[in-house]
Structures are given as C-alpha cells and as structure tokens.
C-alpha cells in the first residue's frame, strides 16, 4: 500500500484541482457540466499538439511547432486557449441558453451532448492510442519514503502552489469574493452592484483554465488520451460530492481524498488482479456519502433537496 502513496498524492492533487474548478462553475452557474472532462482533455491535447515533434503520430493534422517545442511555453499557451474556449462556450452557448430561460435539466442534457461531441472530435484528430509529451524518462527516487520521479515532485509543488493561489484568489481578491457572492445568491449579488453576467464569464474562463492545467499535469504524470476527460470526470464528481458540491475548499479536500483512495486501494490484498475496480471503489464511496450525508462533508443542507 505504501508504494502507492506517491501515485496517490499525484492523483489526489489532480482530482482536487479539477474538483475545485467543477465545483466553482457549478456554484456560480448552477450547471452540472458533463463537458468539464472534455475541457481537461482539451488542455492536454493542445499542449501535446504544440509541443510534440513531427515524428510522433498522435495527431493526424500536419504538425507545426510554432513554439519551438518548448513544453512549458506550450502548456501556458494551452491553458490560456482553454480559458478562451471557456469564454466562447459561455458567450455562444450558455449565455443564450440563460437568456431564453432554458431549465437546468435541458442545460444538463446539452452539456452531455457537448461532451460526446468534443470527445469524438478529439478522436477524429488524434489516434486512439495514448500518447506522451516529449519529456525525457526519469527514474523514481526516494523522497521521505515516498517513491516519485523528480518531475512528479515538480508537479506536486506546482500543483500545490496553484491550489494555494486559487484559495487566496477566492478568499481575498475582489473578483474571487464576487464569484462567491454570485454563488451564494445571484439576486443579492446583483442588488449589491455585482454584474453577474461578467462574473459568470470570468468563472467560465477561470474554471476552464484550471481544467486545462489539470489536463496537462494528468498528461505529464500518465499520458494523453482522447477519452481521458470522461475517465476522470466521474472521479471529479465523486470528489465534489464528497466535499460538498458548490463548495470550493470542500471540493478540494474531497477530490484529494478520492484521488488518494483510488490509488491506495490498488495495494489492498482483495484487489489483486482487479486493477480496473479501483475506480469503482471511489464511485461506491460517493454513493455511500450520498446515503449518510448527502450535502457532503463541508456542504450546507439547503443545497440538496
């Protein structure tokens, strides 16, 4: 079990960041966004597109590396492109839906359609096989008893920094406070002079950039697949529900627990030979949480019924 601790930390971090972005979006817009996983995958796929060398066969498109194949620059550009994509989704799809008063069930079904659409667009432009970023292979080393590669440690540090920054942003900046105000009550926020359309657009951009970042670190740690978004989406839902959907810090905590649990369960003795079932454990935990504390660990009761 202890040998899985490193992987558990990494997956916990990924699911935690993704859960914050999903949960924030849900809180502010009330959209259960099934296409969130596809924005995560978009970040990973774009970074691969910009950084991969022409010899790799991930993309059918004629490859060009305008960024000189620098992985860091490609990642940053991809994260910003994800933000732009989030803004486009809000301006061209979700804002008109809000204007014409589409109900939340209709919007939920539309996000499912959007997710199927986007995922298979990636499939059309990418091969079905998993691909890796052009980074050199590294050996695992011992860090305080935890087995990690040096790059994994870098990812852990950067990811933790991003989480802290997100927390500070939501707690102390004017925009962050406005987002939380719209989340708690959009009417009251409007009365206080907050432009809720503007805040919702900002939330889409912010949440999509975080999602893109998650996709890239997921791609660095494991690999890039066309359907990676859907695979991780259910874990994100589980994390958000565990911590309390609509909360930020709860979702962070819940996501971390879910990610750790999924990896640590690989080491359990009765899981021998059942590697696929590790995701089932996280999802089962989500159902149990809904049974005993449906608002999640940090959620408040009025959100649920």
């Amino acid at each position: 079990m202890i040998e899985q601790l490193g992987n558990g930390l990494l997956l916990g971090l990924i699911v935690a960041i993704a859960s914050v972005s999903l949960s924030l979006l849900y809180g502010v817009t009330r959209i259960v966004n099934f296409a969130h996983g596809e924005i995560i995958a978009l970040g990973a796929v774009l970074a691969l597109f910009f950084s991969s060398s022409p010899s790799s066969n991930f993309l059918y498109l004629d490859r060009y590396s305008p960024l000189g194949s620098s992985f860091i620059v490609s990642s940053i550009v991809s994260i910003f492109l994800c933000g732009i994509f989030g803004a486009i989704l809000e301006l061209c799809l979700f804002r008109p839906l809000r204007r014409y008063n589409y109900g939340n069930v209709a919007v939920l079904v539309i996000t499912i359609g959007l997710s199927i659409f986007l995922r298979h667009v990636y499939l059309l432009f990418a091969s079905a096989r998993p691909a890796s970023y052009p980074l050199d292979l590294q050996k695992r080393q011992d860090y305080f008893g935890v087995q990690l590669t040096p790059r994994n440690v870098q990812v852990l540090i950067i990811g933790s920094l991003v989480m802290i920054l997100v927390g500070l942003f939501l707690s102390y900046t004017k925009t962050g406070k406005a987002m939380r105000a719209v989340r708690d009550s959009s009417e009251l926020a409007s009365v206080s002079g907050i432009n809720s359309d503007y805040i919702i657009t900002l939330t889409w951009i912010f949440s999509s950039m975080l999602a893109g970042f998650t996709g890239i670190i997921q791609g660095v740690i494991n690999n890039v697949r066309w359907n990676m978004g859907f695979l991780i989406l259910l874990l994100i839902f589980a994390g958000s529900i565990l911590g309390g959907i609509g909360t930020s810090f709860g979702a962070m905590f819940g996501g971390f627990i879910i990610g750790m649990l999924v990896q640590l369960s690989v080491g359990l003795s009765f899981m021998d030979g059942h590697t696929e079932a590790k995701n089932a454990i996280a999802l089962a935990l989500m159902i149990i949480i809904l049974l005993i504390r449906p608002q999640g660990i940090f959620g408040s009761k009025e959100r649920i019924s």
Binding site: G103, N104, V105, A106, L234, H274, L283, L290, S305
Partner: protein, 351 residues
C-alpha cells in the same frame, strides 16, 4: 388540424428515412432493414424505460446501461451458455421465460438499490449517481471473470431463443434473404414493444400514472395530498429499470454474444438521443425516435466516407458520435419536446 400536425411530421420523417435507406442501398435492402429495425426496436424499448423515469416522473437516469446489463447477465447466465476464455459449457439452466422474468426482476432490484439513497435528493444528483453506478457495474462485470466471463464474455446461449422460432419465420427469412435468427429477434422485440406500450397506456391513465405525473409537476403538492412521493418515485424507477433489463436481454440475443464492452456509458447516451428525438413523455415517441435515430446513424457512415478516404473503424465511430452529440444538443436547444412530445409535459427545471 393542428392536433394531427405532429403525426403528419412523424409519418413524413419515417417515409423520408425509409426512402433514404432504399435509395442509398442497391443490394440487400431487406437485410439492412431487418438489422436496422431490430436494433431500433431494442433501443426504442430501452428508451421507453427511460421515458417512464424522465417523461412520466421527472427522474434523470443516465445509467440505463447498467439496468440493461444486469437484466442481460442475469438471464443469460441462468440459461444454457458457454463462459469465458475457455468457453466452459453450462448445459443445465432454467427455461427462457422464467430466466427473462428473473432478469427483469434483477434490474428492478438494482433500481431499488440505487433509488433508495438518491431519490430523496435533487434530480441532478441522481444523474451523477446513476452514471457512476453504471460504470461500477461495468468495471465489476469486466473484472470478475469467473462469474461473468470478463472481457471474453458469454457465448452459445442463443439456442434457447432460436429453438422457439416457428418454421414459417425461417421460410420467410429464406425467401426474402435475411438472417432468420435476427428476423426472429426483431419480431419478438416489436411484439414486446406493442405489449409494453399497451400496458403503459393503461398505467398512464390509471390513478397511479396520474400520481406519477403529479410528482413530476409538484412533489410538495403530492406530499400534501398524503401520497408517499419517494415510494412513487421508487416504483417508477423499478418499472423503467425492468423495461431496460428486458431490452438488454434482447440486445444480448441480437448480438449472439454478451460482453461487458456492450454496456459502456455511450449506450445510455444513444438511448437518450433516441428518446429526446422521438419526444419525451409521449407513448410511442421513444420507439419512433429510435428508428429515425438509427437511420441518421447509418447515414453518418457514408458521411465519414465522404470526409476520409477509406475511413477506418475509429473514424467511422468518431463521425458517428460527433453526430450523436450534435443531435442531442440541437434537439434539446431547438425542439426540446421532440417529434411527438408535448411541451407542457416536459420537465425542464428541477427546483
């Protein structure tokens, strides 16, 4: 006249769809028709199950693949079959009708298990839980190879159904040059659809059916009138789940093999697309939607050939699902009530 407008639209769409199949295929039209209508029937039956959940009661079930799967696995494992990598033959089994009933009961039981923790919560939680439960189910089926055959699946179970095939069906199949086993599955499917629709139309008009619709419209009012809203939702969930189980059994017999990869989440989304297209809440809408949906899907294959030279399986699947996604989005945006549905009967907002 306005009352019949949507039926005219439905008939026109059916004629255009069948006309398209006739024109685009020069040979083997009968074979293509039987294949298409059998699949459409099975998906239509599954969509009727979701319609009981969503259209009647307003429950968002995105894990229908699990209900179909548990129905199929229960039934098939109870009748004579061969299992797994080595193809271990199990010769003894229950008679098919009994096994089918047990399969439907198993699906209803899974519905009860999933419904108990979630039906007291708001609707979007149910959507997430059902989709997660469907994934748990599929992963477990895949991992526990001793019981379910794992990725190797279950084979050699079709005889239980095909032995019941009357001779005239076989003769008919030979005379129009189609697969006799698929024709038999197709005929059974559409007969079952008609039976299920007759039962449902009686139920819909019964006090019970009215109470379900009341739950969809205003749960608090139902409670105030002394009805147990959660129990009503559970009943509806179990009924729809067992219909899903039945369609899963038919799907297994249509393929002739049973594999965990059949019950992936996209199966559920296919069925949702058929349901939305046909019209949520209407009785025959899901079946009609499934037929038109399958014609559109078969049309996307020629579209893929147009975009890619010699499209491979991955490109065919890609184009197909890109269209499924667009279809779901556009139907929901522009005509949320579908072809046969009524706007005022559609639940679009969960409070």
């Amino acid at each position: 006249m306005k009352k019949y407008k949507k039926y005219v639209v439905a008939a026109a769409l059916l004629i255009i769809s069948f006309g398209y199949i006739f024109i685009s295929n020069e040979t083997g039209v009968a074979r293509i028709f039987v294949n298409l209508l059998t699949f459409a029937g099975i998906y239509g039956l599954a969509a009727i199950g979701i319609n009981v959940h969503f259209g009647w009661t307003g429950l968002l079930n995105f894990g229908h693949a699990a209900f179909m799967g548990i129905g199929a696995y229960t039934t098939i494992l109870l009748i004579p079959h061969a299992l797994g990598r080595e193809g271990v033959v199990v010769e003894n089994g229950l008679p098919l009708p009994l096994a089918v009933i047990l399969g439907m009961l198993a699906a209803a039981l899974l519905g009860l298990l999933l419904g108990l923790p979630t039906l007291r919560l708001r609707g979007d939680y149910l959507a997430i839980v059902t989709i997660a439960a469907a994934e748990i189910f599929r992963l477990l089926i895949r991992d526990f190879e001793d019981i379910t055959g794992g990725v190797y699946g279950v084979i050699q179970f079709s005889d239980s159904l095909q032995n019941m095939r009357p001779n005239f069906i076989t003769n008919l199949a030979t005379s129009i040059d189609v697969s006799s086993s698929q024709l038999w599955v197709g005929i059974i499917t559409w007969t079952l659809i008609i039976c299920v629709l007759i039962i449902l139309s009686r139920l819909q008009k019964s006090p019970w059916g009215r109470a379900l619709r009341a739950v969809r419209e205003d749960e608090d009012a139902v409670r105030a009138l002394g009805k147990n809203a959660v129990w009503l939702k559970l009943q509806s969930f179990m009924l729809g789940a067992s219909i899903g189980g039945l369609s899963g059994i038919l799907l297994a017999f249509n393929y002739g093999t049973l594999q965990s990869s059949t019950f992936v989440p996209v199966l559920t989304f296919y069925i949702w697309a058929a349901l939305i297209l046909g019209g949520v809440g209407s009785l025959g809408g899901p079946a009609l939607g499934a037929v038109i949906f399958w014609v559109i899907i078969s049309g996307t294959d020629s579209l893929a050939e147009f975009f890619f030279d010699n499209a491979n399986g991955q490109q065919l699947a890609g184009v197909r699902f890109v269209f499924v996604g667009i279809l779901i989005m556009f139907t929901m945006i522009f005509t949320p009530s579908g072809i046969l549905g009524k706007k005022e009967e559609l639940l679009l907002e969960i409070k």
